[in-house]
Symmetry: C2
Subunit: 276 residues, 2 copies
């Protein structure tokens, strides 16, 4: 017998992964949570039937949502992660010795529990003494903590269901307020092939709030079309002005000082999505 | 009723596209040929049930398999295309005014016929007076035409069935012989996530034959994992030594002078696949 997991990536596009075993399946107050052991990608986390992460390609997303921003800021000491309950983002942040404190706000306790049990490679960072985990609403947290963080990472699900508010102008304004005077934030902002309207709206909104707005890209095979973007809003530092020769070596598989630079070099059809 | 086309991208990974209409389905002496009108990607060509090209993302592959090499060679006049019967590759080549002759060798007449009928956007280049179409075996053609071409493009299907020979050492040696003394070739060489062994073997083989071997990359959403590579073997010119400021403007959506440079900047995990 063959068992397959199928995700509707769009109304008209599906990805299917052959499953060795369903390791966990549950329903939290926020979403359906499942852990599948897949033959192609190893263990895989899905939320509401959408692939979030997996052992094979997780390094791309987690390295890019963290190191680009951390190496853009001159001295990031206090970092906030919203979402990303699997732990991969926190794992990458704690590779930076200068970071003194990571506040991780995940709305769903079940995701954290599942990460600890089934994804030790990702959740390993939770044990770092600098990490504080709060099971709470990230939107509320940024509103209540003004002028607090050097960097904020919005490691959200797609802009449906619980994550809709994380793509709103009001939220980006709260993020601005929650950052210190030279702070910056990075958010995952979907695919230029399938979510071009969202990229246009988000980059336009952020550039109305932050002095520096930059889109950068990577490839996550299990996300629709593979090609994926992140957006940085920054009060002071420009990622393009970083002296990449001074970036310290990190144990990474996708990110490198060279990739730091080239990730911002966008193809003509992506440039067209950005504010003029 | 919903109709879906499903491709086995690997034994354990599938992509499915919703189909509005099956426009053509036939069997040539070489392969099954189908044209589907899909809701997500528009018209799509499949060979032996594998997606070859489609209206939505074809620009990436066709721009990258052509312009990178054409702009690396100082004066490419005579170009050979092996495979690529849909015409997209030829369409991009004829954008270069300096090219005097394009010989297009496609083994399967049915692919050419289908391209002319269903993909006018791709096959438009067939009408250029510089283009000669030969329905023939590309392997035989390179053996019989020594010291003839400035550039050879291997626009093949995956390394199964009719295309196996196009990934062999013997073939790369014939390609070397078919090139003039400063010639170069570019071949599509699959995914670093799913075909890493092939990339290692092919780049190692080519670097044993050509003085310059370079791997470069782009993202084709309908290919497994999106992330895709091309390999260049060159007798003289190095794509990294090109003065990208001197590259003439072309009407392109993925390729640009900046992308010419950054396409060769590889992530650590891809670098590891290359000959040391």
């Amino acid at each position: 017998m063959e068992v397959w997991f199928t995700e509707d990536q769009t109304k008209n596009l599906r990805i299917s992964c052959r499953v060795r075993e369903v390791l966990f399946s549950g329903e939290s107050p926020f979403q359906k949570v499942a852990v599948l052991d897949t033959l192609e990608f190893g263990r895989m986390l899905t939320l509401d039937n959408v692939i979030q992460t997996n052992i094979k390609d997780e390094f791309v997303y987690h390295e890019m949502i963290t190191h680009v921003g951390l190496n853009t800021h001159a001295d990031p000491k206090k970092v906030l992660v919203i979402g990303g309950g699997d732990g991969g983002t926190v794992r990458e942040i704690v590779k930076h010795k200068g970071v003194e404190k990571v506040v991780h706000v995940e709305i769903d306790q079940m995701v954290i529990d599942v990460a600890k049990k089934f994804f030790p490679e990702l959740s390993v960072g939770f044990n770092d003494p600098r990490v504080e985990i709060l099971v709470d609403d990230g939107i509320k947290h940024v509103k209540e903590n003004k002028h607090t963080y050097d960097m904020i990472i919005v490691d959200s699900t797609d802009p449906v269901g619980p994550a809709v508010g994380l793509f709103s102008e009001e939220f980006y304004r709260s993020v601005y307020e929650a950052l210190r005077e030279d702070g910056l934030f990075v958010a995952q902002t979907e695919s230029p092939f399938f979510n071009s309207d969202l990229i246009t709206r988000v980059t336009s909104t952020i550039s109305g709030i932050f002095p520096v707005t930059r889109l950068f890209q990577a490839v996550v095979p299990t996300y629709p079309g593979g090609y994926w973007t992140f957006t940085m809003g920054s009060k002071k530092y420009d990622p393009l002005a970083v002296d990449t020769e001074k970036i310290s070596a990190l144990d990474t598989k996708w990110y490198s000082p060279e990739i730091h630079r080239t990730a911002f070099v966008l193809q003509p059809f992506v440039k067209e999505l950005l504010p003029k």
